[in-house]
């Protein structure tokens, strides 16, 4: 068992992938390197899917990309409401990134979402977006007043939410991906043949996509709450 614990810790460690030899060396964590890979994949895929779109749809490729983009956009438009619809492209980008990040473990990469830095960065961006959207929609005064809604008594709780919300977003994503990873490692060590397949489908594919959805769904909900009253 001691060996298993060591292996898990080793797997969980965020290694430095490489170091850019500039300014005395900039260490690049593995999660960032994998993120670059994901970005490259998404961009190449986008260019390939959209390079010959036609007004009259020709081929399954265009049908696929149109359906996918439309469905995602409609989903977030519904979640964000009319006032928050300028955030739709960002939310779609995040769900695509998270989906890819949670699934890239299947290709043998270490999922970036297993690195707390990545989920924290996502959560911080989410809360900045939420508060910025609130300030933009209501003005600074309205935004400050919003903390005393519905009653002044809950104002401390509302202020705490600025911290709690991103923290819960960050930890939920990190914890789920980490948990799924640990469970999968355990299963693979115990029974390495056949059995891991259905579990992998659940933990790596299903759970990964669900977490991507949950993260963006909650962020959208917060934004909607911030811009509407």
């Amino acid at each position: 068992m001691g060996e298993l614990a060591n292996r898990l810790i080793e797997e969980l460690n965020c290694e430095t992938a490489f170091t850019i030899p500039l300014f005395g060396g900039i260490p690049i964590p593995e999660s960032v390197a994998v993120t670059w890979v994901i970005m490259g994949l998404l961009v190449v895929l986008s260019i390939w899917l959209t390079h010959d779109l036609k007004v009259v749809p020709a081929g399954k490729k265009q049908l696929f990309v149109e359906t996918a983009v439309c469905k995602l956009q409609d989903m977030f438009r519904d979640m964000l409401g009319e006032k928050g619809k300028q955030f739709v492209p960002y939310m779609v980008t995040v769900i695509l990134y998270l989906g890819a990040a949670n699934l890239i473990g299947l290709l043998g990469f270490k999922p970036p979402t297993k690195d707390l830095n990545v989920t924290a960065a996502l959560a911080i961006m989410s809360i900045v977006l939420v508060e910025a959207a609130g300030i933009r929609a209501k003005g600074v005064k309205g935004w400050v007043k919003g903390f005393a809604q519905p009653s002044a008594v809950v104002a401390p709780l509302n202020v705490m939410e600025i911290i709690i919300r991103p923290l819960s977003l960050c930890m939920r994503l990190f914890g789920n991906v980490l948990g799924a990873f640990v469970v999968m490692e355990l299963i693979k060590i115990m029974i390495p043949v056949v059995v891991p397949v259905p579990f992998s489908l659940y933990f790596d594919v299903f759970d990964g996509l669900i977490q991507a959805y949950v993260f963006t769904f909650l962020t959208s909900l917060f934004i909607k709450e911030a811009v509407e009253d």
């Binding site: 810790i9 969980l12 460690n13 965020c14 900039i26 260490p27 690049i28 964590p29 999660s31 960032v32 993120t35 670059w36 970005m39 998404l42 961009v43 986008s46 260019i47 899917l49 959209t50 779109l53 036609k54 007004v55 009259v56 265009q62 990309v65 149109e66 983009v69 439309c70 956009q73 492209p89 960002y90 779609v92 980008t93 995040v94 695509l96 990134y97 970036p112 690195d115 707390l116 830095n117 990545v118 924290a120 960065a121 996502l122 911080i124 961006m125």
Partner: protein, 170 residues
């Protein structure tokens, strides 16, 4: 393992860059093509609408034309019938008038004839009376001559009467 480091900042930068790239390479082309399609469809729909309206206008004008033609033909027939009726009634009244005239003329002529006959008869009767009177005055065997005279008178008068009756029957 649970430490925050520069990776956080890199990730933020990565996400912002990815956002811009996705906007440029995914959302813009797809939404562009959707917008173009929407515009094309709208244009087609508008065209179809105008065509439809034009067709409806043409149909209406044709219908109006047909209706006008029908009305005109009905009017012509009505007019012709009216004219025919008028002519018929004119002819009829003329014929009636002529018939009346013929009848009155005939009646008049018959009346005149009758009167003429009557006058002739009266004159004959008077002549006979005068003749008889002359014979009486001129004398002769009284008894027999008287009888012969009566007979002659009665015969003559009977003939006259028959003649009058015939004249009336005619």
């Amino acid at each position: 393992m649970l430490t925050l480091n520069m990776g956080l900042v890199y990730t933020v930068i990565n996400l912002l860059v990815l956002y811009i790239l996705m906007k440029k390479f995914l959302f813009k082309p797809v939404n562009n093509i959707l917008e173009q399609r929407r515009a094309a469809i709208e244009e087609e729909m508008n065209q179809a609408q105008t065509l439809k309206e034009e067709a409806m206008q043409l149909k209406e004008s044709y219908e109006a034309d047909t209706k006008g033609a029908k009305e005109a033909s009905a009017g012509i027939i009505r007019e012709a019938r009216q004219k025919a009726d008028q002519e018929a009634s004119v002819i009829l009244s003329q014929a009636r008038k002529e018939a009346d005239k013929i009848r009155t003329d005939t009646e008049e002529r018959l009346k005149q004839e009758r009167e003429k006959t009557m006058r002739g008869l009266q004159k004959d009767v008077a002549d006979l009376a005068v003749e008889a009177a002359e014979q009486i005055l001129s004398g002769g065997s009284r008894q027999r001559e008287d009888e012969a005279f009566y007979d002659m008178f009665l015969r003559n008068a009977g003939e006259q009467k028959n003649a009058v009756q015939r004249g009336e029957n005619a």
